[in-house]
């Protein structure tokens, strides 16, 4: 396949995945896998899963990380640029239009009450996201402690969220290193 063609395919796959998947980046990965691996055969399934894991390991937007890793592997710098543009553009333009419209809506009268309802509903979904993620990630006492400490540090002591999560990671490195030194398995 010639190089220009690969760039175009990468752009298209990530653009379509970005336009038609709601609820964030993680939901896009299976859609992207289907196109990249099965339909266009740009890389093996193992190579893609490798990239998907890496995309979640490094910080930043998961879907974009994935686009960068996949693009880079398929066609170097150019592929990376094509894939990442595909994954950014739909979210940016659709959200920009939505925000401009939202800014125009007068928040008074019955519409103000409508907003009260919408906001209260959206808070419920943040809670739902915490519970769904918790079901996967809170499987032992250690995980529960980390979760509770992170929560309390932010809510009671107003510590900034980025420092809490990075702090938790660094704590984990020391904790498990010490634990494994004491009890070599």
């Amino acid at each position: 396949m010639d190089k220009k063609n690969i760039d175009w395919i990468l752009f298209k796959v990530f653009l379509i995945a970005g336009t038609f998947t709601f609820a964030g980046g993680l939901a896009m990965l299976p859609v992207i896998e289907k196109d990249i691996v099965k339909k266009y055969k740009l890389m093996s399934r193992e190579a893609f899963l490798d990239d998907a894991i890496m995309a979640q390991t490094i910080p930043g937007v998961v879907a974009l990380n994935c686009a960068c890793f996949v693009g880079k592997k398929c066609n170097g710098m150019r592929g990376m640029l094509a894939a990442s543009l595909g994954s950014i553009l739909p979210a940016f333009f659709l959200m920009l239009i939505a925000t401009i419209l939202y800014d125009y809506i007068p928040q008074e009268g019955p519409l103000q009450m409508a907003f009260v309802g919408v906001r209260a509903a959206s808070v419920a979904f943040v809670l739902a996201a915490a519970i769904t993620l918790g079901k996967h990630n809170l499987k032992n006492m250690y995980a529960w402690c980390i979760m509770l400490c992170s929560f309390l540090l932010i809510v009671l002591f107003n510590i900034q969220a980025p420092f809490v999560i990075v702090g938790a990671g660094i704590f984990g490195v020391f904790y498990f290193s010490l634990l494994n030194k004491r009890r070599p398995s």
Partner: protein, 188 residues
Amino acid sequence: MILVSIFLAFLKIGFLGFGGGYAMLTMILDESLNLGLSLSQFADLNALDMLIPGPIAINAATYVGYLSGDITGAMLATIAVCIPSFVLVSLFHYFSKYIQKNKKIQYFMESIKPSAVGLIASAAFTLALGVIFDVQSINELLNTTISTTIIFPAIVFIACAIANIKFDINPIFLTLFAGVIGYFIYYI
């Protein structure tokens, strides 16, 4: 000046943004309050995130950037939150095998995941205080007299939480439904 603040805020969120979209949203909550958005505006971002496709952090950067710095702000915020991906992927691309086998990085990730849950729970908590009780902190909550204005948002919050968590009802549908109910409640 505000444009520089927007750019730096989202660059920081990108580089420290471990734990996926909702964890990053918690970080964006902090920064958007610093940039002058209200808690209600942030709650509306949540609702729009649900209705508009795409990665949560990019949607959020566009929204916060636009409200605090117009279209230039929206573009700068989006570019800033994306820069870390380009830098880090270019750096780590060659070490991917090593990173996946490295014990220390596994320990790091093992602790990041539960911490992300705590982060998201804290965002839910802060938002619930603001949206339902109209207060910013726990201290403020203890000092306010509870009025009847909390009844409607409190019921919507509990109903949506149960409908979504227990019965897995689509959040887009629930969001729109809550809006319609609110619209008619005004006339009662």
